[in-house]
């Protein structure tokens, strides 16, 4: 018996399903990330003291792309890392033990920095709650911001995103699938699709 793959991994490995309705294609995603990058820079008044932490799995390539755009604009390489929240999840005990995903804190740490958490979809808010707890054990940033590609609503905790690629009204029976080309998934096309989970 192998560890349960994390939910993120499960979805990442799938191509956009033929039956799904594409709501963002690769060009939409590129534009959204460019906009988010500019908003981050604007809000932060530049790239100084920024640290981008992607939440595995798909938050990680998204964070890397945002960093590329910031570098192109500012000529400055923002430190990028990853933050696994598995052991901080509130549903850890409800499912078989899950595989841990990499946590990589960039050199220089996060103390006194402005950390931007990057994730693909903001839904219940529980993942972000876990991420804030995880961050707490890593250091003390001066501020924490949240950037997501898609906000699909249905929050269960008082959490909101600072930077949103697209607000996507959904019903609870729908599933939002994000696929992003990244080092671990080079064959995935960039796309956000919605499918009806009941069908």
């Amino acid at each position: 018996m192998c560890a349960q793959p994390s939910p993120a991994r499960q979805e990442a490995s799938s191509q956009p399903p033929a039956g799904g309705r594409t709501v963002l294609d690769d060009r939409d995603i590129a534009r959204a990330l460019t906009r988010i990058s500019h908003e981050i820079l604007e809000r932060n008044r530049g790239a100084r003291d920024l640290v981008l932490l992607g939440i595995p799995t798909r938050g990680v390539p998204l964070a890397a792309r945002i960093a590329e755009r910031i570098a192109a604009v500012e000529g400055y390489d923002v430190p990028v890392g990853s933050l696994d929240v598995t052991m901080y999840r509130d549903d850890l005990r409800l499912k078989p033990a899950r595989t841990l995903l990499p946590t990589e804190i960039p050199q220089g740490g996060i103390d006194g920095k402005v950390v931007v958490l990057v994730d693909d979809v903001l839904f219940s808010g529980r993942t972000i709650r876990a991420a804030l707890d995880a961050l707490n054990d890593v250091g003390r940033p001066s501020a924490v911001r949240l950037a997501v590609l898609v906000d699909r609503g249905h929050r269960e905790l008082p959490i909101r995103a600072d930077f949103v690629g697209k607000n996507l009204p959904t019903s609870l029976v729908e599933r939002v699938k994000v696929s992003v080309a990244g080092p671990d998934s080079p064959d995935d096309a960039d796309a956000v699709t919605i499918e009806d989970a009941t069908s």
């Binding site: 018996m1 192998c2 560890a3 349960q4 696994d84 052991m87 901080y88 850890l92 005990r93 409800l94 499912k95 078989p96 033990a97 899950r98 595989t99 841990l100 995903l101 990499p102 946590t103 804190i105 707890d133 054990d137 890593v138 250091g139």
Partner: protein
């Protein structure tokens, strides 16, 4: 569903590599300001030690505590165990205390197996060394150490790597677990010992054997020296400590015949001057101290994978 880690043979390659990748994450914790994770908060891990083994016990204790578990240490000395209480009654006591996992070290081979399969306890049982049978977490930490040094820290990294395990294989639970696990991970194991210290039936194990240390070590990627108790010579396993060291000890001269990347390992405690000389143990090739660090990470991984979810992530079905 299997809830226990009793033998290295319980682990498939997928399981073992999951433990190693998980251990890699656990190990990075050592570099963080707060060396603690919340995964096992509210869970109770009992260290049940019928034999003295300070290093294994503190390793498990550190691992459990870093995962926020409550730890109860139960050792044979100074407890009712020394008054003749049976394994069964001890187990029932622990069960009544609500242990989620029992880490057991016992002088009798198969005692953890009995603990797990006699209906005495419902908790997970982790074998921390039983008699001359097995010591699976030691094998995992040894494999993890090799994986980092000669296995590129990636799945499949030990495929085809050559490992020499040298010394008292007959009485070594470490050798048994290592032979099984390293084979599972694709490494080629050679056991090197005088014929008296190789188990009967070793020819059926998935390993090579040799009586000639000098012939084996130049080809090895890792050389693991096992502890050899001087008392063994009283039972005529070898004539004298001096002769043993000359034929099977790792000294500076032999170390010079190793390949540049080859590491030297020892599960401890070492008998310096017997199976290994001080200059070898303290050399740059020696990863003996790192093995201890890795032990905590690997045991964290095992405890997390057994207890972290609603059911264990490793081990086959029962």
């Amino acid at each position: 569903m299997k809830r226990h880690l009793l033998s290295a043979a319980d682990l498939t390659r997928e399981d073992a590599e999951l433990v190693l990748t998980t251990a890699e994450e656990m190990r990075s914790l050592a570099d963080r300001p707060i060396k603690k994770l919340p995964a096992l908060r509210g869970r109770t891990v009992v260290n049940l030690f019928f034999e003295d083994s300070t290093r294994t016990r503190i390793s498990f204790e550190a691992a459990a505590k870093r995962l926020s578990a409550d730890v109860i240490n139960f050792s044979a000395k100074g407890s009712s165990l020394s008054k003749g209480e049976s394994l069964k009654d001890t187990a029932l006591t622990l069960e009544a205390m609500g242990a989620d996992a029992v880490v057991v070290r016992h002088g009798a081979s198969g005692a953890p197996h009995r603990l797990a399969h006699s209906g005495w306890v419902r908790s997970s049982v982790v074998n921390a060394g039983d008699g001359t049978h097995e010591h699976p977490t030691q094998a995992l930490l040894d494999a993890f150490t090799m994986w980092r040094h000669i296995g590129e820290s990636k799945p499949g990294g030990l495929e085809g790597r050559r490992v020499a395990i040298v010394g008292d294989v007959l009485h070594s639970r470490v050798a048994r677990s290592n032979a099984l696990l390293l084979r599972t991970l694709g490494a080629e194991v050679t056991l090197v010992a005088p014929p008296t210290l190789l188990p009967v039936g070793v020819e059926t194990w998935p390993v090579e054997t040799s009586y000639d240390l000098d012939a084996v070590i130049p080809k090895a990627d890792a050389v693991m020296m096992l502890r050899v108790q001087r008392e063994r010579m009283n039972a005529a396993f070898f004539p004298t400590a001096r002769e043993y060291s000359r034929r099977y000890g790792l000294d500076g001269r032999r170390m010079a015949t190793l390949q540049d990347h080859t590491i030297v390992m020892h599960p401890g405690p070492m008998v310096r001057g017997m199976e290994i000389t001080a200059d070898v143990a303290d050399s740059a090739r020696s990863v003996i101290v790192e093995q201890v660090t890795n032990g905590v990470a690997v045991r964290m991984a095992v405890l997390y994978l057994l207890l972290g979810g609603s059911e264990p992530a490793v081990g086959g079905d029962e």
